[in-house]
Every structure is written in C-alpha cells, then in structure tokens.
C-alpha cells in the first residue's frame, strides 16, 4: 500500500510518500503507527504525539481504530488548518 505524509509529519519523517508492505499483524491505523515508529528515530519523532496525528484511508478521514485491510492509500497529517 501507498503511504503519504503531510505538513510537519512529512518534515519530521523526512519522506513524502512511500510504498510499504506491513506484516500481517498490523491491522489498524494505530498498529500501523506503532510499526512505523519502530522503523527509526525520524518516525519515532514524527509520531511521538500520535494522539494528534490524523489519518485518512483512500481520501476519507478515519479514526485510529480503523482497519487498514484493502487500503490503497493511507495518509498521515496534523490537524488541518485551511480556510
């Protein structure tokens, strides 16, 4: 699946987009965040305040308990500040 990062999540993670293939045990957004944090200090830092990080699956907002099975594109970003 494709991962996208925006705003300061992207800056801290040091990557804008990547393809990933998480292990079978990673079933939800929360578990995906934990798996990403274990990849290195940049991700540990980007997701340090994981409770404020927003997620979207295939362009729709989701909560951290959302299942990721079947997702084509998952995005992580801070609370939005447009308008």
């Amino acid at each position: 699946m494709r991962l996208l990062y925006f705003a300061w999540v992207k800056e801290k993670a040091g990557v804008a987009a990547e393809e990933i293939d998480p292990p079978a045990g990673v079933a939800t957004i929360a578990e995906l965040i934990d798996w990403l944090k274990a990849r290195g200090p940049e991700f540990e830092n980007a997701f340090a305040r994981s409770e404020v990080i927003c997620a979207a699956i295939d362009h729709a907002h989701v909560r951290h308990d959302a299942k990721i099975a079947g997702a084509r594109e998952i995005a992580f970003f801070p609370p939005v500040t447009g308008g």
Partner: protein
C-alpha cells in the same frame, strides 16, 4: 462547484457567473478568507494540501450543505501554494431564495472546511517558519452543526 487552485479568484466574476441568466435568486452570501500579517509576524504563507482528498472533502462538504439547505447555487474556491499578507485564501459563495439559508450554509461550509479539508498553513516571518496549529475554536464551531442537526 469546488475548485482548488494556485491562482487568485475574482469574487465579482464568480458571482456574475453564478447569477448569469437567472432571476430566481434572492440572497447571495459570500465569505473571503485572507492572509493576515499579524502585525508583521507573517511575511509569507505556504498552503500545502492533499491533492485528491482535498477535492473529495470539498465535494462532500458542498453536498452536505445542499442536503441541509435549499441552495440555488454554491461555490468553494481554495488557493494553494505561496501567499502574501492581504492575499485571498478561500472563497465560499451560497445563493438561496432567502437570506437565512444562504447565511447558514456559508457559515456551515466554512466551519466544515476548517475542520476537515486537508490543507495546512505554514507561516514564514522574521522569527522563522512554523506550521499553524489548529484552532480549538474551529472544533467547537464544527460541533454546533452536529448539535443543531440532532435537535432540529
């Protein structure tokens, strides 16, 4: 109609296009959001967004407004990229036979857009660059429409 663009918008032209050839509209409410310099603290604003999801969210928000109020027309235009103090950021226009629906729908669109459309502002000033933090008041503004929906 929704549009995401780097270019500025022209409110006069947008309203003229929306009214063209029709005389059933009674009330047109518009909102323009602009970049504030915050007493010199902001010299430039960069607007990042999530292409694809932005259009999906704005379309969803506009459909929700049209489901709640009898609108004759609606428009959301949001800019992206580098903006300067005084520049336009966002335009919302709603048209209805009567003013209450147009006012309510315009405010709803702005409240929803502020809390759900995937845009992020980074301000650049004499003290460096910083990502704008979400305003908790926007969450409260968003919630009033949920309550209203439930009690009316």
């Amino acid at each position: 109609m929704i549009r995401v663009q780097q270019a500025d918008f022209d409110i006069g032209a947008e309203i003229a296009a929306l009214k063209a050839g029709r005389s059933d509209i009674g009330a047109i409410v518009s909102f323009i959001g602009t970049v504030r310099d915050q007493h010199g603290a902001v010299e430039e604003m960069m607007l990042e967004h999530y292409p694809g999801m932005t259009e999906a969210e704005l379309t969803r928000i506009e459909q929700e407004a049209n489901a709640r109020w009898p609108l004759q027309a609606s428009l959301i235009v949001h800019r992206t990229g580098a903006l300067l103090p005084g520049d336009n950021i966002v335009l919302v226009v709603t048209a209805s036979e009567h003013r209450d629906a147009a006012f309510d729908a315009a405010r709803f669109l702005m409240d929803y857009l502020k809390t759900s459309a995937p845009f992020w502002k980074r301000e650049q000033g004499p003290g460096g660059a910083r990502w704008v933090e979400a305003d908790t008041k926007d969450g409260a503004a968003f919630s009033r429409w949920k309550k209203k929906h439930a009690t009316e």
